[in-house]
């Protein structure tokens, strides 16, 4: 295995495509960081990053099969499984490198964001982002190993990522059914009362959802959100699974967490009763236990997902004959 990893590292370091992907990651991270600092918190960066993975890994792994180089490995006494696992490990290493670049560029450009958000949360968000990136890479490598043709692999992986992103667009946030109302930036800004509860006017306003969503005030002071969509069990099941299995959902969760903690740069200058936006929000995001619990759950689920995706990929790949 170590021989395959050494050889793979040599291959990646010699690959122009790899260095191009690193450069694109650095540039896009810089643009993202700059955008977040100067305008508002834009969360589409993860889609760009995932697409970079789709192109890089499907082309890198696909060429092993297209150019027939995997034959040298098999003839050299390496098993199919070892080749597959080595490709997974290499992709994870490359992902970590790109994630590191991206994180450093963002942190350098936005030190104020990092300083505001509690350290524990930012560490969890970073780890969750990294594992989501690795899950995405693992999916791409597994598909590329199964398809064994780089052009088909890059097309399928790109389409799959678009589908994953699209499937989340219909999600009603965090899929806890029934769920408690979350204190998000807009509601806080517009509707939060002095004691941290929603005003009756706000509840009235929120009742006017087009899709029939109803918000009820509970005796314990929480708010219950009931959406008619969740009464459809199949839809709920799909949304629930999608929320955990789709690596984009981790990224959306992270961005939401950061947004809750940080908000927009424009809002950051807003002053209310002499307090800045951050100071107004601080008590709420610090007490947002539900969202943090969800983040913890995702962190626990991530290793299982990595093993599950790579395991399913290995089982299918082993059944395939080499071209």
């Amino acid at each position: 295995m170590s021989n395959l990893l050494h050889a793979g590292l040599h291959r990646y370091l010699k690959s122009k495509l790899f260095w191009l992907a690193v450069a694109v990651t650095a540039i896009s991270s810089y643009l993202w960081g700059y955008w977040c600092r100067e305008a508002y918190f834009e969360d589409m960066i993860y889609f760009v990053q995932f697409m970079i993975f789709a192109v890089l890994f499907s082309l890198e792994v696909g060429r092993e099969f297209d150019e027939g180089v995997f034959r040298n490995k098999i003839v050299g006494g390496h098993s199919k499984s070892r080749i597959y696992i080595s490709e997974m490990i290499l992709a994870a290493e490359a992902t970590c490198l790109m994630f590191f670049i991206s994180s450093v560029v963002f942190a350098v450009l936005n030190p104020h964001v990092i300083s505001i958000i509690p350290a524990e949360i930012i560490i969890k968000v970073y780890i969750n982002s990294l594992t989501a990136n690795i899950i995405c890479s693992v999916m791409i490598v597994a598909i590329s190993c199964i398809l064994q043709r780089r052009i088909i692999a890059v097309t399928v992986c790109s389409l799959l990522l678009c589908l994953c992103l699209y499937s989340l667009s219909g999600s009603v946030y965090w899929l806890t059914e029934p769920r408690f109302y979350e204190v998000d930036a807009e509601s806080v800004y517009d509707n939060l009362g002095e004691n941290g509860t929603l005003s009756d006017a706000a509840i009235e306003d929120l009742h006017s959802f087009d899709d029939g969503t109803v918000i009820k005030k509970l005796e314990n002071g929480n708010y219950l959100v009931e959406s008619p969509l969740y009464r459809n069990k199949l839809y709920t099941a799909f949304e629930y699974c999608n929320g955990y299995l789709n690596p984009f959902s981790n990224m959306v969760m992270n961005c939401d967490m950061l947004y809750t903690c940080f908000g927009d740069s424009i809002l950051s200058e807003y002053q209310q009763d002499g307090n800045t936006y951050y100071e107004t929000l601080k008590p709420y995001y610090e007490s947002d236990a539900m969202k943090e619990n969800l983040l913890n759950k995702r962190l626990l689920a991530a290793p299982f997902l990595i093993v599950a995706y790579s395991g399913i990929g290995l089982a299918v790949y082993k059944r395939r004959n080499f071209r």
Binding site: S2, N3, L4, H6, A7, H10, R11, K14, S15, K16, R63, E67, G68, V69, F70, R71, N72, K73, I74, V75, G76, G77, H78, S79, N321, F322
Partner: protein, 304 residues
């Protein structure tokens, strides 16, 4: 005789198609084994199975004295290398990096051998060029160079001269002979260009429709393909007496026909035959090539 590869009733089936059927092959150590067969005869499939690229459907094989079902087969494969179909190369790397990559795959600790191998295959002039810009012959030579990494005992070459120009064919042929003579590497070469194969092979296996039709040595083939004259006479006994008198090597084929393996003096032969009241009906020079031998062999099988 010690064998580096033996197969026992090896078979490979794709759904309802038998690509290999009951193949029992024996490749002697130190030989250049020519695997002969038409397109689709099963040559590449056999090489792919032996290399581990595909699993056999039936039977087994023994590589470097290790059975394919034994745990040690992975180790045994490290003594074997192969060039299957097209050379497996990283097109955006140069020759040195491709060879370094193979060293890393095999866990060869030192890269010192690489310049020697590049020289051995005659690619010193192009070592900095990316493989994408190589000619087919250069790629083929680099493929063989990759197969040489780690000093293997056995190299399998699948159609190594396919698509090469005459110069390229000569170069690859010389390379195979050099490998066999200077490095004592056993080489299995598959080809349907029999003329080329006949210049290097010491042993042959003939495949047709997934079956091993015949396995033989180059000496036996040479004997079968010897240059001769087929003489048809009224009485072969008279001809035999004359040829004995002339001390010429011959072989009686039938009551009226014999093969003569040396060039006789025609006047002496005819005079001798007249003396024994034997009439010369026809005299035909025959030079049977490996191709003819193969066609006859395959034809014979197909007619059965």
């Amino acid at each position: 005789m010690e064998y580096i590869l033996t197969t026992n009733s090896l078979g490979k089936k794709y759904r309802h198609f038998h690509a290999l059927d009951n193949i029992s092959l024996h490749v002697p150590k130190g030989s250049i084994y020519g695997l002969v067969g038409k397109n689709g005869a099963g040559k590449t499939t056999l090489i792919r199975v032996v290399c581990g690229l595909q699993e056999p459907s039936t039977g087994e094989y023994c590589l470097c004295s290790v059975k394919n079902t034994d745990a040690g087969i992975s180790k045994a494969r490290r003594r074997v290398s192969a060039l299957v179909e097209t050379p497996a190369l990283y097109l955006d790397m140069n020759a040195y990096d491709n060879l370094k990559q193979q060293c890393l795959i095999l866990g060869v600790p030192s890269f010192d051998e690489i310049p020697q191998i590049i020289k051995f295959v005659g690619l010193e002039g192009a070592k900095k060029k990316t493989v994408r810009n190589y000619s087919l012959g250069m790629k083929q030579r680099l493929g063989i160079a990759i197969a040489m990494i780690g000093n293997p005992d056995f190299i399998l070459l699948d159609e190594p001269i396919n698509g090469l120009d005459p110069q390229g064919i000569i170069e690859v042929r010389e390379l195979i002979l050099k490998l066999n003579r200077e490095r004592q590497v056993t080489v299995l070469v598959s080809s349907h260009i029999l003329d080329e194969l006949s210049k290097i092979a010491t042993h042959y296996g003939f495949l047709n429709g997934g079956h091993l039709v015949k396995e033989t040595s180059a000496e036996e083939i040479n004997l079968a393909c010897r240059k001769c004259a087929v003489v048809t006479v009224s009485d072969v006994k008279g001809l035999a007496l004359v040829l004995d008198e002339m001390k010429i090597e011959y072989e009686v084929v039938s009551d009226t026909e014999a093969k003569i393996y040396e060039e006789p003096n025609i006047t002496t032969l005819v005079t001798g035959l007249l003396k024994h009241n034997c009439e010369l009906i026809s005299y035909q020079q025959k030079n049977e090539s490996l191709e003819n031998y193969f066609i006859n062999l395959i034809g014979g099988v197909q007619n059965e």
